[in-house]
Amino acid sequence: MTRSKIAALTALGLAAAAMAGGATLAVAAPSASTTIATRKANFKKMGAAMKALKGELSGTPDKAKVLEAAKTIAATGRVQGQLFPAGTGPSSGVETDALPAIWTNRAAFDADMTKLVTEADKLVAAANTGNAAAMQAQFKAVGGTCGSCHKQFRADD
């Protein structure tokens, strides 16, 4: 190995270490703005999935599409509850509709999040049966969890 090759590899290794370090840092303590941006994107993903369900269920539903949207909500809902650490409320200075009540009434908020996942799982099950009436009823149940949680924990714009 030539001297220059060793130097190049060392530089590469250092750069990789630095990147890995940076990544580790981001996982360990993401900034409030990153967390807020992530949960906002997740909520939009769930909103889009809900809208897709609404569209499917207003006609003859396509089982595969209903299942896909239901799984998106169930999977995203599971992550969402962890994206509200202390310090990511309105006092963080980052624009968010999350109300301080989330942190002062944490147990109720966590219960709402759990309910979302439970109802979304039931929607996946309903989609698997292919029964349109069951899907419609469970879609309403999931939508109800959005609304009731938002009423208490989201700023009305």
Partner: protein, 225 residues
């Protein structure tokens, strides 16, 4: 006010008066249900407003003289000439909308129509509840319509406020009471005036209403028949 006039003349036909007060009621109801997030009744209220607006557009071509756009939509010359007489204490001579008020009517009808159409496409933040046409667009587009729907409401509130201020101005400054005329359809004749006819066809009014209801119903189904 001059000496008590005994005779009266008709200004507003029953259909336009009914349109006016139903519109007031449904706009108020839409506001209330919107604030309460009662989207089911909010949608019904919006369909009713759509039917009323379609009727009004139809009536603007087929109704009696005071209802016709051709009679009250005036050019900038007439508007500015009329605006210059606003300071005068004498009341407007002609019946129906004055050249300035005519544009206020157009602005209100236009804003309400934009409002209803935006509402048809709007989707709520949960992607759960929305207008019947929101199925044709993406979630982000539906959200943009919903936000626009809220913005237009502020425009409508401003126009309604202006409308009420104008009515108060006529009542206080010109001593002309406009609200009773919109309820009874009549105003007292001034000395030396002769009563004017107000011809309108109940059949045409029903046709206009039927067209309005048909369009609102079609929109409510998302044009899926």
């Amino acid at each position: 006010m001059s000496e008590a006039a005994t005779a009266s003349t008709r200004i507003w036909d029953p259909a336009i008066r009914l349109f006016h007060w139903l519109l007031v009621g449904f706009v108020g109801f839409s506001w209330w249900t919107g604030e309460q997030h009662d989207m089911e009744w909010h949608r019904y209220s919006g369909y009713a407003i759509l039917a009323l607006l379609v009727f009004r557009l139809f009536w603007g071509f087929t109704g009696p003289r005071t209802a016709r756009f051709g009679q009250f939509v005036k050019g900038p010359g007439a508007v500015s000439a009329y605006a210059k007489t606003l300071g005068s204490k004498s009341a407007h001579a002609a019946d129906g909308h004055n050249p300035l008020g005519g544009w206020s009517v157009i602005a209100m009808l236009g804003a309400l129509l934009v409002m209803v159409v935006a509402g048809l496409f709007a989707i709520d933040v949960d992607g759960f509840d929305g207008g019947p046409l929101s199925d044709y667009i993406t979630f982000d587009q539906g959200r943009a319509f919903a936000e626009f729907h809220e913005t237009v409401f502020n425009v409508i509130l401003t126009l309604v406020a202006l409308h009420i201020v104008a009515i108060a101005f006529y009542a206080v400054w010109k001593r002309q009471r406009l609200v009773p005329a919109m309820i009874t359809g009549k105003r007292k004749l001034e000395a030396g005036e002769t009563a004017q006819d107000l011809r309108w066809s109940p059949v045409l009014a029903l046709i206009g209403l039927a067209i309005g209801v048909a369009i609102a119903w079609a929109a409510s189904t998302g044009f899926r028949f």
